[in-house]
């Protein structure tokens, strides 16, 4: 979707946080929302179930400053993580410019991580994306919990493409902005259309 308006010198990009249910996607977005000054963020939209699980998506528009004269606006989305919301996840991936895969580091969630990652690959392929060309950052979340998978194992099982990866404790903000900055940089570097 990345949309560059060369006349007004504006860039709009779509970043999607993907991953298994209860992995911390919404927590990432909420932390970013809390720490961003009011003039630089739009209204955060959360479409939740009654028990505060993501139903359709969370959305946070971030108006950052300028980079080389271009005003940048990032649209951050999360997908619903629960397995039965596959149709919604497909819709939200349309027009994606960059991905953050938020994995739950707990041993008992490894199967869910793998299922979600394979679903992501399938959904991207179904929509005609070349997986090697979509900027992606991996986030190993919940590193503060007991019984977690070693980072090397997460890398081995989930990050065969050697995408940039960050350890995180999203509930405390650790790793949240490191992840966002990396995916933002990758997305900006991937925008087609040089200056005339």
């Amino acid at each position: 979707m990345s949309f560059v308006n060369y006349h007004t010198k504006e860039i709009n990009c779509k970043i999607v946080y993907y991953g298994p249910g209860l992995g911390g996607k919404t927590t990432n977005i909420q932390y970013i929302y809390q720490k961003t000054s009011s003039g630089n963020k739009g209204q955060m939209i959360t479409l939740n179930t009654e028990n505060e699980r993501t139903l359709f998506f969370d959305f946070l528009p971030l108006d950052l400053g300028e980079i080389r004269g271009f005003k940048t606006r990032f649209h951050l989305y999360t997908v619903p993580g629960q397995v039965f919301y596959e149709a919604s996840r497909k819709l939200i991936l349309r027009g994606v410019d960059g991905l953050v895969f938020v994995a739950d580091s707990q041993v008992e969630r490894m199967e869910a991580n793998l299922e979600s990652f394979h679903g992501l690959e399938k959904n991207l392929l179904d929509q005609g994306y070349d997986l090697s060309k979509v900027p992606m950052v991996m986030q190993w979340n919940k590193r503060d919990l007991p019984n977690i998978v070693p980072v090397e194992d997460l890398q081995h099982q989930l990050n065969k493409r050697k995408n940039p990866a960050f350890e995180a404790i999203a509930s405390q903000g650790h790793g949240v902005f490191e992840t966002l900055k990396m995916v933002s940089k990758s997305v900006l570097l991937n925008i087609k259309g040089g200056l005339e």
Partner: protein, 163 residues
């Protein structure tokens, strides 16, 4: 001044209508990017994202039940007798956009919907009769917008965002 982009042309067409349309009027791209909004505040971007989400979900729902449904002629309404949302898809320069209105305390929603439909037709006509100037051959932008971006530039970008 002659418009050179869709955004400029839509603005030229819609700004004069605001005096007669008692609703928030907006145009969004299919992917949720704002092209025009009569209200510019911290809800502007979110309106466009939700419009896109609502439309895509509705389209998927329709196709789920009646596969291969042609949604070109569809409209979307969410309303009571005095308030609601109304969305019209339309095509400009080969791409799909939505013209929408959000209204409340409206005495005659039927009339408002008719006004929106006429504006949509006027926009389509205008783009047909006065197309945007074509870019000269060979002016297509090649390669990537940025060849390199340093970590310091990204840090600066985010610090400007108050982060």
């Amino acid at each position: 001044m002659k418009a050179v982009t869709v955004t400029e042309k839509v603005k030229q067409l819609l700004d004069p209508k605001l005096g007669t349309i008692k609703a928030r009027l907006f145009v969004t791209r299919e992917d949720g990017i704002t092209i025009y909004d009569s209200v510019q505040d911290n809800t502007t971007t979110s309106v466009a994202a939700l419009v896109s989400g609502v439309w895509q979900a509705s389209e998927a729902l329709m196709n789920l039940v009646y596969e291969q449904n042609d949604v070109k002629e569809f409209r979307l309404g969410f309303d009571t007798s005095s308030q609601g949302i109304y969305l019209f898809p339309f095509n400009l320069t080969g791409k799909r956009y939505f013209l929408g209105a959000i209204y409340h305390e409206c005495l005659n929603p039927g009339q408002l919907k008719r006004q929106i439909a006429l504006i949509k037709e006027e926009m389509e006509r205008s783009f047909e009769t006065e197309p945007l100037p074509k870019k000269p051959v060979g002016s297509m932008r090649q390669g990537y917008l940025f060849q390199d971006i340093s970590d310091a530039e990204i840090d600066r970008l985010f610090s400007l965002g108050g982060i």
